[in-house]
């Protein structure tokens, strides 16, 4: 890892502040993420809709929710390269699928999913490549001060996902004429036999994931980076290396350190 190539201003931040940086990071990465993100999310939507049209309504929704760690690992893959100004294109991402598709896919989807600090934990496995006990120990250190914030992020995102859903329904309700839906509840809770209502629900849920998940992953990632910065003083290392480099280049080597007067 080349610390001096990093695009983030490393400093010791508040945990909340570190998460906010994730939003800003995602904003700058959005153009390079969009195509790969659509490439994975559109086929997923197509599969789920196909399942639902064939009668597997709940299975479809469950799959969409269950596979979230897989979409997330793509986002993290692009982010972790993007902060070093390396933006992998769609071709490179598809060819190098082994690099980002999680190796322990069973644990990723079923076990680690249960942790509320998921986006904070993800880099430990995916970027550091730690497994088993080593991973557990690492997480213990990382979680020491940050567990509540990492959990909070997931809980907030859970609410946001639901609110985006509600907002999309609200938008639809404002836009359609009264003849089709007399009250908000008519479109929000369609009859069980009404397949169009179910598809609408799936598409809105998919849209919420599509909008929110990159920000969730990015914020967890910047929180993780902040914790590492704190533990390993990356920002200080960077400043010291710059200083050493400058001293090397400067001609004035008349620094009289050992003879400095002791004023204590």
């Amino acid at each position: 890892m080349q610390l001096d190539q990093i695009n983030l201003n490393l400093r010791d931040r508040y945990p909340w502040e570190a998460m906010d940086l994730g939003i800003k990071l995602m904003r700058t990465m959005w153009p390079s993420l969009l195509v790969p993100w659509l490439l994975i999310m559109l086929p997923v939507l197509a599969c789920i809709l196909f399942l639902q049209l064939n009668g597997y309504i709940l299975t479809g929704l469950l799959l969409l929710w269950l596979c979230k760690p897989i979409y997330d690992s793509l986002v993290l893959h692009i982010l972790s390269r993007g902060i070093f100004s390396d933006y992998p294109g769609p071709v490179r991402i598809i060819k190098g699928w082994r690099q980002w598709l999680p190796t322990g896919i069973y644990s990723t989807i079923f076990i680690w999913r249960l942790s509320l600090a998921r986006s904070f934990n993800m880099p430990v496995h995916q970027l550091e490549g730690l497994k088993g006990n080593a991973r557990k120990q690492r997480l213990r250190i990382l979680h020491k001060k940050y567990a509540s914030h990492a959990n909070g992020l997931t809980i907030i995102c859970l609410h946001f996902e639901f609110l985006i859903n509600l907002t999309l329904y609200g938008l639809l309700f404002i836009l359609i004429p009264k003849e089709y839906a007399a009250s908000f509840m008519d479109i929000f809770t369609p009859a069980d036999s009404d397949i169009s209502g179910i598809i609408l629900n799936t598409v809105f849920y998919w849209l919420a994931i599509f909008i929110l998940e990159p920000f969730y992953v990015a914020s967890g990632f910047t929180l993780y980076l902040n914790r590492r910065t704190q533990l390993e003083a990356w920002d200080i290392e960077l400043a010291f290396r710059k200083m050493a480099q400058r001293l090397e280049h400067s001609k004035q080597h008349d620094i009289n350190y050992p003879d400095a007067e002791n004023i204590a």
Binding site: L8, N9, Y169, G170, I211, A239, A244, E248, A264
Partner: protein, 229 residues
């Protein structure tokens, strides 16, 4: 895109020519602060409803009027009279300020809180959410109209102290940033492992022309010298 230093700071220059970095607060802490404020109002309404229940229809009217007043003026009163801090914001260390860092006044506070209705559209802050994710300074539409920012209040520096040690004079020729780096090292040295401290100090061995490698203790003594002890 070139390499650059991404940060959530907003530099503001005061009339005296001093530059202050406002640390912008984004959607995560702000939504939690909003939630806390909403819960506080909810509890107040509940208690109020229990009390005015005794007065029949007159009580209902009273309750509705007080809900109206609370919904519109709760944030405004706190923001103007309490230096931009509502109870929810206080619990997360947030503060509302004008874009130039000055305390918020009546007109801008009214504006940003009345425009909550727009941010709330179509339902539950859909517009505000999109606006805050897309804006460079995490502003929702109300913030944009009133030209206000939500920032973190200044850090309490007392928690990070330079460890006491006999001071050493710093060699000349180091600029401000480099001196600050040495002080930061000393302040945070208690959180670092021993090996990491020595590794970091070793980078600066050039500060000792006589040879030998710099130790963490010497750096901390230098920081003491810088701090004027």
């Amino acid at each position: 895109m070139d390499a650059y230093n991404l940060d959530s700071l907003n530099a503001v220059q005061t009339p005296e020519g001093i530059e202050i970095n406002l640390r912008l607060a984004g959607i995560w802490p702000r939504s939690v602060a909003w939630m806390i404020d909403t819960i506080i109002r909810g509890v107040i309404y509940f208690v109020l409803a229990l009390v005015v229940n005794q007065f029949g229809k007159f009580g209902t009217g009273l309750l509705l009027i007080s809900i109206f007043i609370m919904e519109w003026f709760y944030p405004v009163l706190f923001e103007v009279l309490n230096n931009g801090v509502t109870p929810g914001k206080k619990s997360l260390g947030l503060q509302v300020v004008n874009a130039d860092g000055t305390p918020i006044g009546w007109s801008s506070s009214m504006l940003r809180n009345i425009l909550r209705t727009v941010d709330f559209l179509p339902l539950f802050y859909g517009v505000g959410l999109i606006s805050m994710l897309m804006n460079d300074k995490f502003q929702r539409l109300g913030d944009l109209a009133a030209d206000t920012l939500v920032v973190y209040r200044q850090q309490n520096t007392s928690e990070s102290q330079i460890p006491e040690a006999p001071a050493l004079h710093l060699p000349p020729g180091l600029n401000l940033k480099e001196q600050q780096a040495i002080i930061t090292f000393a302040e945070r040295s208690s959180q670092l492992s021993e090996e990491r401290k020595e590794e970091l100090a070793g980078i600066l061995s050039q500060l000792k022309p006589a040879g030998g490698s710099m130790t963490a203790d010497e750096l901390i003594r230098l920081a003491n010298g810088l701090a004027g002890r």
